[in-house]
Amino acid sequence: MTKMRILSNLAYRFEVFASVGTNLILMVASIFVWKAAYGGSIGQVDSLNLSDLTTYTVVSILLSSIFVCDVQDTIYSKIREGQIVTDFYRPIPLLACYLADDLGGSLSNLVNKVLPLILFASLFFGVPLPASLTGFLLFIPSCLLSYGILWLLSALVGLIAFWVMELGNMGIVKDSIVRVLSGSIVPLWFFPESVQNVSKFLPFQYTFQTPLGIYIGETGPAAALSSMAVQAVWIGILFLLLAAFWKKTKTKTLIQGG
């Protein structure tokens, strides 16, 4: 029994170590790509210097660890196993329940994944400080709005599972699109003009680039407030979409197995 317990605990800790390790690798690799790109000879590109981008990368990876959006997988697996029925019986709104679940995941990640990552990052690349205090104060609400957008997108993809039963990797498809167009790896400021113009009308850049731009001081306070307004608008649009979709879905639920 004791052995089993130790093994399962170890296995669990292994998961955390490995996740921190994976993110660390991503961080180190991207930072060295930027280092190579700047190569000592280039001081600034688009008013960004190497230390801005280092901070940008570090904080971007921290954010991606905090933003837990497992709704799509939750809905999908509940449908596959028919458990969605029992959830429907509960007297609380189902989606709020899943949101609470994800928020819990975010909080626990904050402690056991983000703290070690911050520690490592500070050790290797210096503490990723925000550009200014106002920047930092604006960064926090902007992050919350970002999380809202990401979560709603995730929930929308999850609802597709009600129709098709087998969602496959649509979630990862969405994640890959988000990763590129949110500027979480390469800021959109470096993208070709045309892509930047199109992306202004998509929700993605408001998930990572907006808070990160505020954090490193690329986006000034006034611009920050206006982009936070855009974030709020996107949350409104996505929320209405989700509500409408959800209402339609509930009547169409097909229970598999069970």
């Binding site: 093994l7 399962s8 170890l10 296995a11 292994f14 998961e15 170590f17 490995a18 996740s19 390790g21 994976t22 690798i25 991503l26 180190v28 690799a29 060295f32 790509v33 280092k35 190579a36 790109a37 700047y38 190569g39 000879s41 280039i42 590109v45 688009d46 098709v164 039963m165 087998e166 969602l167 496959g168 990797n169 649509m170 990862i172 498809v173 890959s176 699109i177 990763r179 590129v180 790896i185 390469v186 470096f190 993208f191 070709p192």
Partner: protein, 270 residues
Amino acid sequence: MSALRHYYSVAACFARLAIQRQLEYPLFLFSWLLMIPIQYFSGIWMLKIIVDRFQPLDGWGFPELSFIYGLALLSHGIMVVLFINTWHMDHMVINGAFDRLLLRPMNVFFQLVASYFNFIGLIDLIPGTIIFLYGCHLVGFEWSAANIVKLILVIIGGVLIRASLFIILGTIAFWTKRNASMVGFALAMLERATMYPLGIYPYLIQVLFTFLIPIGFISFYPSAEFLHKANGFQLPSNLAIWTPVIGIVCFLLSQQVFKFGLKNYESSGS
């Protein structure tokens, strides 16, 4: 000879079953068809953006970067097709599927690998081939017979190096019963170390990926040689020979580790 034929027929049967299973849900296939190209094409696109805006990475311009990226993807794709079951060994150990393999009168490792011919993994080869051929075109790769033979050897070696790493990691599941996140970790490491030139990393990491975990031989050293680029370490003789040799050595080593793990294997019960 008849044993070989027997093994072949079993593998063929497994493959047919696996393909049918994977085609059961059309959206499943479709989502992979969407996801994998998006991931890799966007990866190379972002490298292009960086190189365009800044400067070549450690002397590697966009043509060379797409060559190395494509070469890395080719060996990744073949590994995923043939050896993907090594990623799921923890799963098999936990739900007892592994015990079933032990009961059959056949090589356990063969059964493990052959029981899942990853048809969907072939999709991984699509962006890999396109990016590689594009890279070849950009760098003016010379398609001489010698080069083609070298290329094939390098790809085989790369597949073996990758597979060995996952076999060794999978064997850990015999003890820990859980290693899915280790697989993710290894994948991230492999991806970052094979798709960029190693030269951008600090000396210590270069040493690590050359001598300790020879990931550098999957794509970096062969590309450096094909493209006549300087690389960090002066290694004697032809690098194209090194990759397959190291691949075979790693693979034999991983087989020993697997056998050792199997000896210590205890069923998860139930």
